[in-house]
Amino acid sequence: MKEKVGSIRESLNTDIKEVKTIQDIVELKSKYIGKTGLISELTKGMAELSIEEKKEFGMIINELKNEANSLIFGKEEEINNAILNEKLNKEAIDITLPSKKIKRGSLNPMTRITEEFEDLFVSMGYTVYDGPELETDENCFRKLNLPLGHPARDTQDTFYLKDEVDEYLLRSQTSTAQVRAMEDNTEKGPIRIVCPGKVYRRDEDATHSHQFMQIEGLVIDKNISMADLKGTLETMMKHVLGEKTEVRFRPSYFPFTEPSVEVDVTCFKCGGKGCNLCKDTGWIEVLGAGMVHPDVLTMSGYDPKVYQGFAFGTGLDRMAMFKYGIPDIRTIYGNDLRFINQFDRKDEE
């Protein structure tokens, strides 16, 4: 019996060295550890032995069996690993080949800047108001205290519609939203709106496009002051142009606000030190604002003895030009894809 065990072990050790393929393993399993394999045969031969011998040989055979299992299964794993490795090697690719890109589309920078303003004001409880671009002279001028023949109309060379001079026009300012918002408010209660949108004037050069974009803001309530206006504009300009931006008020004149101010911000190019952009003043004029003129309130049904408010308007194109460093407004409306595609990633916070 012992000799048999010895010879099986010897033969297994020899055979295992010859194993090359999974097929060899299958054969080896059948020869040694299968149901009719050599080790099973040994077990069968134990029937004739005494209990003592059974105990002794049982242990020896078990030992052999464990040894065979471990050798054969170990070898099997070794071979499987080799096969897998070969497969992995074969599958290796050139990772430097170009990716299968998802095509990238860009929002227009004007949309980005507009949304930036909208988001800020929405967060402060304002409603974004969308007014028509084709307007009446009444809403665009007369109800803003600019009657026909008013000298301040000179600064806005307006596009009137054919056969509709002094009646229908393409809005020359988003300030017309002030009138619309007040007229729409049937309860004549508080108002908090911003209105971004396209406006049109007969003017075209490197800093003027006949079509451009403005954003108008209007707040009406019982205790609104110039100080509220200044704080709001400071918040707005810091949000859009950076925390270091400072705001300066200069008195000015607009027929629909009284008092009126022009608003400057510190030059974002030089930070206020003086450069060619700000003509060495350190300041750049960015918007006009003021307290809504009592006549404007009255014309749209508000009692100026009860309500007062502020309004402001600024050019979104200019803001985009400042923020992104765009030199010529005509670039914005040129729609060159090499331009639009530059604005396709997340902004710095």
Binding site: S106, E133, P151, L161, A227, K230
Partner: protein, 787 residues
């Protein structure tokens, strides 16, 4: 408005330490912006000298070699001017002098040393209109008694500084030197000096021989006086120099005085040659078609909107804008009628816009102070007596239909604080008003403020608050955020979502012009509508408001293609305009254009119809219109689209847009477009997003390929399959098309999914349905199951 520092200093004593820039900046801080502040003449190192020797240049037929004594030394200077000669007093630009034309440097001219330049007036940078013929031809000859070695600019009387203001249209009062003096007085807390209005009158009375007849409401104040025996000559230097500093060309003493007084008081004046005028001045509205020859010798055709001055027969002047030629003051004029009047601002503005914007019309347009109308008349008489030897005839022709009262406003201190958002004491407010020259009565909580008539812009409480803010300093207001209730802000989420969706699908957002040529407005649409055109367009290319956005997008495509960017996938959301039954209407439209490569892989995929259709489906699904839309071929396909590769987009039975390929006659490239009327589409309601139970039991999948006639569409097959499949057939999709599998036939392969949400399906029951589907497709569409 150009303000001369010398001129304004007649009326206010400005601190000598103040630079011209300081003054300009302080004016800016109270709301009066400027373009330029600096010397009238931008030239340095100019000195007076005497030509003590003048020889012909040995090597030139026109140059002279001069020795010029400039006090400190004698300079050798080569001079080419024809009028240079010994004994002249001249202006010398020394070595290193900076003139508008460049820097003067020592040099050698044809072998002779030259250490400077003898100047003409033109070389000092004076505007061409101020130059006399001799100024252009030769060097300037100073009076022979001129001291040598002094500043050349000073010797000419041009040692002035100016500020070029850009005034706001409400401040007509600042179009006068006196008005400026008041503004500066408020800033620097200084008094304004009186103007000299004294003169003698003779014993005659103008009303005996002359009368004015005002026949129009457009003239509210009209004054006329007569000055006789005037001597027409050159004005004194100070008048000429101040006119030049104010950008007005000196002509002769009489004309110059009218301009000088206008600059001082802001009141335009007109002088007539009395001997060519007749005995009556009439102010009336012109009759339509009436003609008048204006001072510039042009024949003007007038309308009833124009105000004219006329004699008994005909118009002789255009009120507020320009005088007429027939009564102009000329060199031989002896007697003059002086007119000082106020005409309707809007009428003058209209006429001047049509004919000529002038210094006078600019002032009339902004509104005048009637007190200045009187003041200007008096001042005019005083200066004519003094500088034109005039005798002033007694009496005045006067028509006065204007309110001469000062404005009186009651204002509460609390209102000032509440509007400006500042803390300010009553004393400070009163002090500000007084600095502005307003009179204040303190009635406790309320101040009673009298505003002089020169400040015609101040009418209401808010105007006074602005005055307080201006002088207090608008910039001193401390910003704070309004104390308002917290409410929910709102914005158009759908528009944003659409834009983001389309960007995610690889499209770029454009913003193109609303204005397009009228020849384009009916393109890319079959809709019938009346287009909206402009009255006075900048050009024919931009004379109409677009209806469809597609012609704009096609322009964008061409623009990019011309720049070698052929892969164009773009969209735009904008307004389309038309005039309909309800008047002018604007609708929001979404347009898409795609051409060239779509994906960015090595193997590029050219955009085809099914790409843009995919974009459309993705968008409509996203907006909640899944299973509610279809494409149909109908009569609404625009001529610009390929009739076989385009369709109308129908959502819930409403036509909301078009999709397709550009017609080869429109564009030779493969360009695909789509336009959806968002106003229409978004007015169609969608269901809300809600949980739907899904089957927990396995589905059974079946494939079938049919051979059908080429003309059979996918939709036809799908319709038959779906109908035959019943409720257990939950999904059907085409996965393969094989064209020309046999002549005139194609193969279409479908994948079908059968599911029951309540149980596992049996293979047999699915086979029954599947067989029914095959039968129906075969019989209804004359198809054959492909084996």
């Amino acid at each position: 408005m150009l303000l001369s520092k010398k001129f304004v200093s007649d009326y206010i004593d400005l601190d000598e330490n103040l630079s011209i820039t300081d003054i300009a900046e302080s004016m800016t801080s109270v709301g009066n912006e400027y373009d330029y502040a600096g010397p009238l003449i931008n030239a340095t190192k100019l000195v007076t000298g005497e030509v003590i020797e003048c020889e012909n240049h040995p090597d030139s037929d026109h140059l002279h070699v001069c020795k010029v004594n400039i006090g400190t030394e004698v300079l050798d200077i080569v001079c080419g001017a024809p009028n240079v000669r010994k004994g002249l007093k001249v202006i010398v630009a020394m070595d290193g002098a900076k003139l508008p034309g460049g820097e003067i440097k020592k040099g050698v001219i044809r072998g002779c040393e030259s250490n400077g330049m003898i100047c003409s007036i033109a070389e000092l940078g004076l505007d061409n209109k101020f130059l006399k013929p001799e100024d252009k031809e030769g060097i300037h000859e100073l009076p022979l008694d001129t001291e040598i070695g002094i500043d050349g600019i000073k010797a000419l009387g041009f040692d002035d500084e100016v500020i070029d203001f850009e005034l706001t249209s409400n401040r007509g009062d600042l179009l006068s030197v006196i008005g400026m003096a008041y503004e500066l007085g408020a800033i620097y807390n200084k008094d304004v000096k009186d103007i000299d209005l004294s003169y003698n009158s003779n014993n005659d009375d103008i009303n005996k021989s002359f009368k004015v007849d005002i026949q129009t409401k457009d003239c509210s104040l009209f004054l006329a006086k007569k000055a006789i025996n005037v001597t027409i000559k050159e004005s004194p230097e100070f008048i000429k120099n101040r006119l030049i500093a104010s950008d007005i060309r000196p002509i002769n003493n009489v004309v110059d005085i009218s301009n000088y007084v206008m600059l001082e008081t802001g009141q335009p004046l007109h002088y007539y040659d009395a001997d060519r005028l007749g005995d009556t001045l009439i102010v009336r509205n012109a009759s339509d078609g009436e003609t008048l020859q204006t001072l510039d010798e042009q024949e003007r055709v007038l309308s009833s909107d124009d105000i004219v001055i006329s004699d008994k027969e005909k118009a002789i002047g255009l009120a507020g804008v320009m005088g007429g030629l027939s009564t102009e003051v000329e060199d031989d004029t002896k007697n003059i009628i002086i007119e000082s009047a106020i005409f309707d601002a809007i009428k003058v503005r209209k006429t001047s816009k049509k004919i000529l914007r002038s210094e006078a019309s600019n002032r009339f347009e902004k509104g005048l102070d009637p007190k200045r109308t009187y003041m200007a008349m008096e001042r005019s008489c005083a200066l004519l007596e003094k500088y034109a030897d005039a005798t002033i005839v007694g009496g005045i022709c006067e028509y006065n239909n204007i309110d001469m009262n000062d404005t009186v406003i009651d204002i509460k201190l609390d209102k000032i604080k509440s509007v400006l958002g500042i803390e300010i004491s009553k004393e400070d407010v009163i002090s500000i008003f007084e600095r502005l020259g307003f009179t204040v009565k303190d009635n406790g909580d309320e101040l009673n403020v009298t505003v002089p008539s020169r400040r015609r812009d101040i009418k209401i409480v808010e105007d006074l608050i602005e005055e307080v803010g201006r002088i207090y300093g608008m910039d001193k207001i401390e910003g704070k955020l309004p104390e308002l209730p917290t409410i929910k802000g709102k914005y158009d989420k759908t528009k944003r979502a659409i834009k983001r969706k389309l960007c995610d699908l690889g499209l770029n957002e454009t913003i193109s012009y609303t204005l397009i040529p009228s020849t384009e407005v009916h393109k890319f649409t079959k809709d019938e509508f009346t287009e909206v055109m402009l009255n006075d367009p900048m050009s024919e290319d931009r004379n109409t408001l677009r209806y469809s956005l597609l012609s704009s997008l096609y322009e964008v495509y061409k623009y990019n293609k011309d720049r070698n960017i052929p892969n164009v996938s773009i969209f735009e959301i904008g307004k389309g305009f038309y005039k309909g039954e309800n008047g002018y209407t604007e609708e929001t439209k979404l347009a898409i254009l795609m051409s060239g490569d779509y994906e960015l892989d090595i193997q590029n995929t050219k955009v085809d119809f099914y790409h843009i259709k995919g974009i459309m489906e993705e968008l409509l699904y996203f907006l909640g219109y899944d299973n509610r839309y279809s494409l149909i071929v109908d009569n609404n396909i625009p001529n610009e689209l390929h009739p076989g590769v385009s369709a109308s987009i129908i959502v819930n039975g409403t036509n909301v847009g078009i999709i397709g390929k550009l017609h080869p006659n429109t564009c030779k490239d493969d360009v695909y477009v789509m336009e959806i009327n968002l106003t229409k589409l978004l007015s169609i309601r969608t269901g809300s997003m809600k949980y739907k139970d899904f089957s927990k039991f396995p589905s059974i999948y079946k494939d079938a390929a049919f051979i059908v006639d080429n003309k059979v569409t996918n939709k036809e097959v799908l319709d038959v399959i779906k109908k035959a499949g019943g409720r257990l057939l939950v999904e059907t999709s085409l996965f393969d098309v094989y064209n020309e599998i046999e002549p005139g036939k194609k193969s279409m392969a479908y994948n079908m999914v059968f599911t029951d949400p309540t149980r596992s399906l049996q293979t047999e029951e699915v086979m029954d349905i599947f067989n029914k589907i095959i039968f129906e497709v075969e019989t209804k569409l004359n198809a054959k199951l492909r084996g």
